[in-house]
């Protein structure tokens, strides 16, 4: 199982890999425009595959305030 950490809300979840970034976001009901997907210290584009051994961070980029 791959480990997914959603920063900002500090939630975690798991998925069966391998799975494409685009599919992960779709399953989590997340609009790609609103997040970055990070593995290690690198960014992943939507076409990339995430394997069972991977840990990724989904980082929302939308901030509120003024």
């Amino acid at each position: 199982m791959m480990k997914i950490y959603i920063s900002q809300s500090e939630k975690t979840c798991e998925f069966q890999g391998p799975k494409q970034v685009k599919a992960i976001l779709k399953d989590l009901d997340i609009i790609p425009e609103t997040v970055l997907v990070i593995r290690g210290d690198g960014l992943l584009t939507e076409d990339e595959m995430v394997s069972d051994r991977d840990s990724i961070e989904i980082r929302p980029v939308i901030s509120g305030g003024v």
């Binding site: 960014l43 939507e46 980029v61 305030g65 003024v66």
Partner: protein
């Protein structure tokens, strides 16, 4: 996915430009957009002293980083609003950032004598926290810029911020706010600093990606008081539209700017002329305002009377 410019591995796809970029090309793209914004809108020159309003978040730190890299004289100003651990951590991010770059910055404490933070303040005057916070920050940023002789005050407002604000202003037809929604607000009179938004051509996602690629350590958690803010609702709506039709955000905001520019050409009285006709010094603090007391001093006066009662 490959970088459309150099065929290296892409790190970010940018649907609104129908492109994808590697880390180096993304960095170059972001810097070019900022230079273009500064040049086209005549924001400032390399001879100017710029004060950057920094919060420890992605936008303001990216802006500061870009301005320094492009060779501008840019110092930072952080305003501590006393939002518990959030303020402590965000201030630390600013401190580390500045230290690494040997950059000059100020820290302004906006909690009052008894250490009351913005949360308590907002409760006290029954205003949304973001409104009170925005008012206090604007006051301190402007004051510092004027007192320390900065030529311009730069903020990290991005395309998403401006498009969301425009959506709010249009939904409620707030004509008087629409007029002030440009990326540059001139120093219309003595006591008002010129304000610029060099990131208005870039989306939040592009700026966040710039931070990750360039190792800028920013505070990822959003301000706890912003939860459920109006602006977030508009951003969400715009992102749904953007996803279905890439480029919508920029055509909405940039289209508005183009129309405003046309309007000003026809309008003989410039914004600063109109401002001067309306503004005079606040009777409390001397900063320009259109009523007897500026909104910051009104807020402070309210907190004082509330305290006397309680």
């Amino acid at each position: 996915m490959k970088c459309r410019k150099c065929s290296d591995k892409a790190v970010l796809s940018i649907p609104r430009h129908n492109t994808a970029l590697c880390g180096l090309c993304l960095t170059e793209y972001v810097q070019i957009q900022v230079e273009r914004a500064i040049g086209r809108e005549k924001m400032c020159t390399k001879e100017n002293k710029i004060l950057v309003a920094v919060s420890g978040g992605k936008d303001s730190l990216a802006l500061w980083d870009i301005l320094l890299k492009l060779g501008y004289h840019a110092d930072g100003l952080y305003v501590n609003l006393g939002i518990g651990q959030y303020s402590v951590r965000s201030r630390k991010k600013v401190e580390v950032f500045a230290e690494l770059r040997n950059a000059m910055w100020f820290s302004q404490d906006a909690t009052n004598d008894e250490g009351t933070g913005i949360r308590e303040l907002a409760d006290l005057v029954r205003r949304p926290a973001c409104a009170a916070c925005g008012c206090i920050k604007r006051y301190h940023f402007n004051r510092m810029a004027v007192d320390q002789d900065y030529d311009v005050l730069a903020t990290g407002h991005n395309l998403d911020d401006e498009a969301a604000r425009l959506m709010g202003n249009v939904l409620h037809w707030q004509q008087e706010f629409l007029e002030k929604q440009g990326p540059v607000l001139p120093a219309s009179m003595e006591g008002f600093a010129k304000k610029i938004k060099p990131l208005y051509r870039l989306t939040e996602r592009e700026i966040a990606a710039y931070c990750v690629v360039n190792g800028i350590d920013y505070i990822v958690q959003d301000c706890p008081l912003a939860t459920g803010s109006r602006l977030l609702v508009y951003k969400e709506a715009l992102n749904v539209v953007e996803q279905a039709s890439p480029g919508s955000k920029q055509s909405f905001y940039w289209g508005f700017l183009a129309q405003q520019a046309e309007k000003f050409k026809l309008d003989h009285q410039s914004m600063s002329e109109r401002d001067i006709a309306l503004l005079h010094p606040c009777e409390e603090c001397g900063q320009p305002t259109s009523s007897a007391m500026c909104s910051y001093c009104k807020l402070m006066a309210k907190t004082k009377t509330h305290k006397k009662v309680s």
